[in-house]
Amino acid sequence: MQALLSDSVMLARLQFAFTISFHILFPAFTIGLAGFIATLEILYLRTGRPHYAVLSRLWTKVFAVSFAMGVVSGIVLSYQFGTNWSRFSLVVGNTIGPLIGYEVLTAFFLEATFLGILLFGRDKVPRWLHALSAVLVAVGTAISAFWILSANSWMQTPAGHTIRDGIAYPASWFEIIFNPSFPYRFAHMLNAAYLTASVVVLAVGARYLLAGRFTEEGRTMMRMGLGMVAILAPLQLFIGDLHGLNTAAHQPAKLAAMEAHWDGASPAPFVFFAWPDEKNERNRYEVSVPALGSLVIKHDPKGLFPGLSDFPREERPPVFPVFVAFRVMVAVGLALIASGLVGAWLWWRGRLFDTRWYLRLVAPMWPLGFIAILTGWIVTEVGRQPWIATGILRTADAISPVPAGSVAASLLAFVVVYTVVFGVGIFYVRRLLGRGPVAAMHGTEGALPNRPLAAAQSALNEDTLEKGR
């Protein structure tokens, strides 16, 4: 403990890992949810069926709470580059700083501004403009993902730059933005975001059906959620495979850690379980299938790829977290594929809404997408170590001239505040979903005293609900 409290690098890393892990949950969810809400708004615009509007209202409330948490936790990150990682800011500021700048200009303002109309403008602007605002928010969140993943991918696989006096200078913006790992990482993450939100929608729909409440809305949610999961989950396997091949080509040490593969001279087994022993360069308690690893990575059972022992110790990432996180992510992915396919089959047989074991199976699945996202990011970020920007700057050299005490104090403050504030926020999201669509419409308004309009609105909403059934 004493050693940790004086280790500025470790404290700064913990702080970044903690704040970004909390943060990523919210944008990942809201990117997908924005697409869902925009779809609902467009369906409502085209069909006029009120239950699309009812659903849009419910999920917009959930979106608003989640987005607020994403915004405030995101500002923390944009300033953390400077507070904890000032050397990093200086060394790579010329190359990836402008990418973040473009994120602000093309995405942040768009999202934040049209969110105002989406949340508060339902009765103030024409229906088409409200739907357009939902679309613009969804587009904004996706553009934001584009830039931030470009910047992150550049840190993984830098390109298009030259180094002078230890500082990276831009040579080709095209090569910087579309660096070798970017297309795969972007596709993988964006798909993960839509998949995560789809799983939540599916699970909540199943919950309503199980409880026998809001059945019309529950069915729509299950159809929309399941339709997406059945397509996106298998697609994610395909994208993930391509991303893995890209990692093999550009970040071989990370790949070796993902597979806990030590000896590059022989074909790799596929390790289902093991306790990687970094000191003795081997796996303990290994359960594996010979040659399957090579088949997965090289698409050839005899294929060879570098093992961890081929890299000097100071060039290897920590093996254990990368190896375990990768397995958890893949397991979640396979579970999602299976539940998507089973659900699609039941749907095709016309039994989706009556098969209670399936509803019970998917109802608690809502956190799975988030788990896959967090473990996936552990794989890619811990796997990049010991570099913060591969080959350009080591993590240990990237920190600010700030005493460890300041970093420790702020880390403690972040842990306390995030746990309390975002813990309550997640509780509120669950409560909103638990209350369901009707309460979402006049639950809060009903709490305001002396509001004749709210009462009128409630009556109107009940009316629309009736028509929707």
Partner: protein
């Protein structure tokens, strides 16, 4: 210095200055509304106050990201020196913004158990304003730099002067917030805002006066900038215009005008900002690093400048559009929570 290498950093300094002042004015009124929360204990009034800023706060706060992000992109050296130097106030600011920001949504979801989020909103707003003032004060007093890095201690920012600028910003934002409430609400809330506006306005003027006297007394380079001949002559319009605006705002509050007090407070902030810029040009990190020394590679500055020139006008148009959509005064009945 080549013309491009001379002018690019100047253009970027102007852009970041513009983003900063837009942030201060725009987030100023919604932080101000939060600062005034304790003086409006009734739930109905608080609902109205929050509704008056809810559609805009997120867009407003984006200017803070633009300012911070812009500083990193255009002046990575300045960013890498300033952020470690004001580490603790920045962390306090970020935490305060969390409490303030989530309250907008949590408060409605928590009803009728929303008191804690009232506290979160007010406390977050006050702490955010105070931290920003601390950062401003620390920057004005100067940052200790050696070998292109921050070389001071973790509490260098804490001085009587920075505490004063912290308090001054709380008062200033509260005044803009009161102006906003007069502009956007009617009835009890507007009347109460007008009552509080008088002492707040006087306190804001006093704070501007104190900082204007304190800085040249304490920092010789600033005294020289303002009082050396012929600067005294050229710069004299700044205090003169400030006095005229001050008188206009005071009359507007007393006459009961609904829009003018807000714009007078905004004008005072703009003038104070101009004064600070004059005091510190050409330093980005007073008293040692200039805009040219801190500048990023010209290609980086040009690359983002193209985007800024193309996109900022569009951003201003659609931001303005949202203010237009929600134009007019709001009252109890037109509270538009989703």
């Amino acid at each position: 210095m080549a013309p491009l290498e001379y002018s690019l950093p100047v253009i970027w300094a102007l852009l970041i200055g513009t983003a900063s002042i837009l942030y201060v004015v725009l987030d100023g009124f919604d932080l101000g509304v939060g600062i005034l929360f304790p003086f409006f204990p009734e739930e109905k009034q608080r609902d109205l106050m929050m509704n008056s800023v809810a559609p805009y706060w997120d867009g407003n706060e984006t200017w803070l990201v633009m300012g911070g992000g812009g500083l990193w992109v255009a002046f990575p050296l300045a960013y890498s020196i300033i952020m470690p130097a004001v580490y603790l106030p920045i962390i306090a600011l970020l935490l305060a913004l969390i409490f303030r920001g989530v309250a907008f949504e949590f408060r409605w979801t928590a009803k009728p158990h929303h008191r804690k989020w009232d506290l979160s909103f007010a406390g977050g707003s006050i702490a955010a304003a105070f931290s920003q003032g601390l950062v401003l004060g620390a920057l004005l007093q100067g940052i200790h730099v050696a070998d292109g890095r921050f070389a001071g201690g973790p509490f260098d920012w804490l001085t009587p002067f920075s505490v004063f600028t912290g308090l001054a910003l709380v008062v200033g934002y509260a005044m803009i917030g009161a102006g906003w409430l007069m502009l956007k609400t009617e009835g009890e809330v507007a009347q109460k805002a007008r009552r509080y506006a008088r002492p707040l306005y006087l306190a804001l003027l006093a704070a501007i006066g104190v900082v204007s006297v304190w800085t040249p007394f304490e920092i010789p380079r600033i005294a020289e900038r303002w009082f050396a001949w012929p600067n005294l002559l050229y710069l004299s319009p700044v205090p003169l215009i400030t006095m005229i605006v001050a008188a206009w705002g005071w009359r507007a509050i007393r006459r009961g005008s609904s829009a003018q007090p807000f714009f007078a407070a905004v004008a005072l902030f703009l003038l104070a900002f101009v004064g600070l810029v004059i005091s510190n040009v050409p330093y980005l990190v007073p008293p040692s690093v200039t805009v040219w020394q801190a500048a990023a590679a010209p290609t980086s500055q040009v690359f983002l400048l193209i985007g800024a020139v193309l996109l900022l006008p569009i951003i201003l148009v659609y931001s303005g559009f949202v203010y237009w959509v929600f134009r007019g005064k709001i009252n109890d009945e037109t509270g538009y929570h989703h």
